[in-house]
Amino acid sequence: MNCEVAKRRLLAISKSNGLPAELRAHLAYCGSCRAWRRRLLQLERHVSSLPIPRSRRKSRFLREFLREPEQVRKALDGTAATVSEAAAPTQAGPTARFRLVVSGTIQSRPMVGSLAGIAALLLIALSAYELRNHFGEPQSSGSKSISEPLLAELVERDMRLSSAGTPAERVAILADIADVLARNLGPLAHADAHEDLSTLAKLYENVVRSGLLHQARALRETERLPVLGPIADRLKEVANTAERLARQSPAEQVQPLLDIVAVARQGSSELRALWEEQS
């Protein structure tokens, strides 16, 4: 056994354990390793007596805890006045002292109380929202549902069209129908409903080209800008939405979305041309 191996073994063995015979034999003839072992034992003995650094936080707390009653009263202002002499820090037990210190800290920082209140309110609102979602709202069940938003909206628009007397009214209602259809773009794109999305694109095109643009041409010149301006903006918004969806959608869904982009952009620019030609 050489000195390096002997020192490694000595480091691995605790003081209480006995030394193996091989190591004892090495120490018997190696003075350097014996001296090294003596230093090691000395070090081991002194480790337990090393001082532990004191926690500043603990000492600060203890200082505050044991502070003079007058100082505490100053910090607490009004609160201290309500505390009876019997409960004064010097005479009362440690619990009473602790309460005074804590209440003093909170009173001196009103911001903390307000923020905690806001957090609590937020949590309560969140819980209420969660409960309402679970128990309050009727869960839609696909085929057996009472509400038919899209169909009901279309029936309502059709009935308005059936009594619309002027091109301006018809243009407004047809633009509404286009919007109602466009609201289903996102849901169909996210649901990977390729065929339904193609149907929606065709319907949208029919409404814009055969309905909206056709009726817009029948508007009086003075009506064109106020009626068609907002509709042209809405068509542009639909084009932007469909374009964004096309960028996020799988390849087979891109074409119907791009068709809608083209129809909406063309519709918007044709409407713009209609009011610009009057000026």
Binding site: I146, R157, L161, L174
Partner: protein
């Protein structure tokens, strides 16, 4: 200020939960809309084409004819839903059918009648459209009344009532018989 730090994780987790909830709700609404679109696609096509027809036609009589075509498709859908025992759908479509008969067919026929003399050719056309619309409702009423199970008969009561009201509106427009 250090004491305020405990609020940050509370508020943060609350906001994360809230946004998660909203995302989940929005996903559910989207799926629901897509499913409904798929189920109603043929009626949606009918309603959009009907809307274009109504926007194009200039006279109330022609608009009444457009609405009769819409009513025909709705009556077929009600019949189909009744065969599938989908009571909620029967009720919903029945209400739409009544709306189309009342506000579409009857209102436009009534408007037409205001401007035409009695016994004119237009009057005959009004009666023709009225009969055509009424003939959609009568057999449907009978089918719903003769529903197989007694509890199903109860379920169809609201729809039957809506259809009877729609038909009554059409009956009021019946051409007066010459003395």
């Amino acid at each position: 200020m250090k004491s305020c730090l405990f609020i940050v994780p509370i508020v943060g987790s609350a906001l994360v939960c809230l946004s998660g909830q909203q995302w989940e709700t929005s996903q559910r609404v989207d799926t629901d809309r897509a499913n409904r679109f798929h189920r109603d696609v043929s009626l949606i096509e009918t309603m959009v084409e009907g809307g274009l027809c109504l926007a194009k036609e200039e006279t109330p009589l022609l608009r009444a004819e457009c609405c009769t075509a819409l009513a025909q498709q709705l009556a077929t859908a009600v019949r189909h839903a009744a065969k599938n025992h989908d009571h909620a759908r029967v009720e919903e479509l029945g209400q739409h059918l009544r709306t189309v008969l009342d506000q579409g067919v009857a209102v436009n026929l009534s408007e037409t009648r205001k401007h035409v003399p009695a016994n004119s050719s237009v009057e005959k056309k009004i009666e023709e459209v009225r009969r055509s619309a009424a003939s959609l409702v009568e057999p449907l009423e009978e089918e719903l009344e003769q529903a197989s199970a007694p509890q199903e008969h109860e379920e169809f009561q609201n729809t039957l009532q809506a259809l009877r009201q729609g038909r009554a509106e059409l009956e009021r427009l019946r051409a007066p018989t010459p003395p």
